[in-house]
């Protein structure tokens, strides 16, 4: 994992003269790492934000969809690894298996756990979501064991250098694919009939209903689209870190949620911006916190940043960076 590498690099002794150059390189390196991670966060954050935008529900179990996507891809890649097919094709097949299954999962989740609770007190679906999350994790545990699974690295990693900073082909692919998918989502939401219906339902469900929009269908579609994005994010992140685990979704999901709140929950561009920003903040934070605090705090505090950002945003700007002021809809 490049994580360990990052820490080592920072601790290495450095000549005083070159320090500013090196610092710049480290900065660029962490920026690259951060944007990569942020692209993944953004993809997952979109799922949270779309669902929240339409039914004001925090789909707590969304992170688990990422995990399921990664683990399905793991099984498929493992099965095909010796088949002689080109590695890129194998990964594509794995994604093509993971995405529909995750979309089905997203649909069932909405149907079974959330739809019966529409109109219930706000806490009810949140608690159900926690339940769904526990169930998915432990079913995954039964299928894929409780051990961390080394994700097959079938795509050879190529690095491109710029000074001391490097960017790998996997990072480029992650950033590229996320950008494409988000552009696709933007097209779907802002340029198609389905997107118009989604936006109408988010604005005012009863009026949209009067206009002939079937709210239940739209909500289901939102879950399905979010789950699809999450599945792809899962495949990418597992490839990136080279590891998959039945608990990987919880933490990732939580951070993506933080990203969605940071950008302004319910706001699509906000989720994208929030994701990338959070990724960069984490990477830079982890890269520099040791230096800034004389190694009192090390990069093992990386996970704290997301939550601190979340708390700060909620306290000082609850509507997020791009969100409109949240009305008293509650």
């Amino acid at each position: 994992m490049d994580h360990a590498w990052r820490v080592e690099k920072l601790r290495a002794p450095r000549p005083a003269l070159l320090q500013s150059d090196l610092l710049m390189d480290i900065f660029i390196q962490q920026l690259i790492n951060g944007i990569t991670l942020g692209a993944v966060y953004a993809m997952v954050a979109l799922g949270y934000t779309m669902v929240y935008g339409i039914i004001q529900l925090i789909n707590f179990a969304h992170g688990e969809v990422v995990m399921v996507g990664a683990l399905i891809a793991f099984s498929v890649i493992n099965a095909l690894a010796g088949s002689g097919l080109p590695p890129v094709l194998i990964v594509l097949i794995a994604t093509a298996c993971a995405a529909p299954l995750c979309m089905l999962l997203g649909y069932s989740m909405e149907r079974i756990a959330y739809r019966p609770l529409r109109g219930a007190p706000r806490l009810a679906p949140l608690i159900t979501a926690i339940g769904v999350s526990i169930i998915l994790q432990h079913i995954a545990l039964l299928i894929w064991t409780r051990n961390p699974l080394a994700f097959p690295q079938i795509i050879g990693i190529e690095s491109y250098h710029a000074g001391e900073a490097t960017i790998t082909n996997v990072q480029i692919a992650i950033i590229g694919i996320s950008t494409l998918m988000m552009a696709g989502l933007a097209f779907l939401v802002y340029r198609t009939r389905l997107g118009a219906a989604m936006r109408a339902t988010a604005q005012n469900a009863p009026i949209a209903g009067l206009m002939g929009v079937d709210a239940n269908k739209i909500i289901a579609a939102t879950f399905v689209i979010g789950a699809g994005l999450a599945a792809v994010a899962g495949v990418m992140v597992a490839n990136y870190y080279g590891i998959a685990h039945y608990t990987m979704g919880a933490n990732l999901g939580l951070k993506a949620f933080c990203a969605a709140v940071l950008g302004g929950i319910g706001n699509l561009p906000g989720a994208m911006l929030g994701g990338v920003l959070l990724g960069v903040v984490e990477a830079l934070g982890a890269g520099y916190i040791g230096d800034l605090t004389n190694n009192v705090f090390g990069s093992n505090y990386q996970d704290v940043f997301a939550f601190i950002v979340l708390i700060l945003v909620l306290v000082f700007r609850p509507s997020g960076l791009l969100g409109e002021k949240v009305g008293d809809r509650a």
Partner: protein
């Protein structure tokens, strides 16, 4: 039946019988193995936690997903002040109130900036807070070793008063009182006090203010209720119960590490409250007992059953337990949103909901 129930003497006889049963219980359990006494003690700890969380979630309607952090604060407060780690060995009756106070302080620190937020945001922030506390516990071993990191703190002092130690086995009146049995009685005492406090609070001016906030915050403010203060009070009360529970947990286990304070534990306590019946003290106790004992019963039934059927263990009891928790949360919310034993208010809410549909 009703005549019997309304008879004042019958009520007291009932109370006396229950008290007698609770006093005799550890000996009955001990005959099946000291392990069961320990399990019972842990169950009572969970009752304490659930009742603390019930104040926050059930009474005031604030969803706290990081409640276990307060338990951790109490446990570490005790461990640091009564173990060889710092060489401090303060008596427990000094530390427990300190633990409760520190936990309450953490509750206020967390609550002050966040209680303005809407319910679901609060849930996420508290969850993040729980994680932050755990990450700090895991990492505050350098540069100064405060928490001893993931290795945790061991050889924590048992409770003792003068020469009387809760860890030792003593004979008294021809009965053998082992460490766990002594702790059982102490826990029982604390539990009765906590139940008493819960019931009294619920039926008071403060309890009504909490209910008002849960029902309609804007209207509550128009009634002259300082909602921020009253919510903070709920947070601090709940947290202090968690802190006391944590201190007792540290002493009983004599070892703690960040492992004991993970998110799943928060979810478990929440499950107990929700499953039993949010806001109803009796329901919450039943929820805590049920979810504490079900895993143990599973351990004693599922394992041998699988061994006999398949010749090996296919599914660990731990996994089954978690699956049951998850399913219970979903099913209870959908089928019986008030929990197994709903509070009177929830019952009204639900019947009103049905009429509206």
């Amino acid at each position: 039946m009703n005549a019997l129930r309304n008879h004042p003497q019958a009520k007291w006889i009932g109370v006396a019988l229950v008290a007698l049963a609770l006093l005799a219980l550890p000996f009955a359990l001990a005959s099946a193995g000291t392990a069961w006494v320990r399990i019972m003690n842990l169950a009572i700890l969970y009752i304490l936690l659930s009742l603390g969380l019930n104040i926050v979630v059930g009474f005031a309607g604030l969803l706290d997903l990081g409640y276990i952090a307060f338990y951790a604060v109490g446990a570490y407060a005790y461990a640091l002040l009564a173990s060889p780690h710092f060489g401090l060995h303060l008596p427990f009756w000094v530390i427990l109130p300190i633990g409760a106070l520190v936990a309450a302080l953490f509750g206020v620190l967390l609550g002050a900036p966040t209680l303005k937020l809407r319910g679901d945001y609060l849930a996420i922030v508290t969850l993040g807070f729980g994680e932050i506390v755990r990450i700090f516990l895991n990492n505050l071993s350098t540069p100064i070793n405060i928490t001893n990191g993931p290795r945790g703190i061991s050889r924590i002092d048992a409770f003792s008063i003068g020469d009387f130690s809760f860890a030792r086995t003593d004979a008294f009146l021809g009965l053998t009182f082992s460490g766990p049995v002594k702790y059982y009685y102490l826990l029982l005492l604390v539990m009765v006090a906590v139940i008493f406090i819960n019931l009294r609070l619920h039926d008071s001016r403060i309890g009504r203010a909490w209910e008002a906030i849960r029902e309609d915050e804007v209207a509550a403010r128009a009634m002259g209720i300082d909602t921020t203060r009253v919510k903070l009070l709920a947070f601090a009360m709940g947290a202090s119960f968690g802190g006391i529970g944590g201190g007792m947990f540290a002493a009983i286990q004599s070892f703690i590490s960040p492992e004991s304070f993970v998110l799943v534990e928060s979810v478990m306590v929440l499950s107990m409250v929700v499953l039993g019946g949010m806001g109803n003290v009796g329901g919450v106790i039943i929820g805590a007992l049920l979810l504490s004992f079900v895993p143990e019963i599973l351990r004693f039934t599922v394992e041998p059953l699988q061994q006999r059927l398949f010749g090996r263990m296919l599914v660990e009891p731990e996994v089954i337990r978690m699956l049951i928790f998850g399913l219970a949360l979903v099913l209870v919310m959908i089928l019986r949103p008030g929990g197994l034993w709903p509070s009177a208010v929830r019952r009204r809410e639900l019947s009103a909901g049905r009429e509206a549909r």
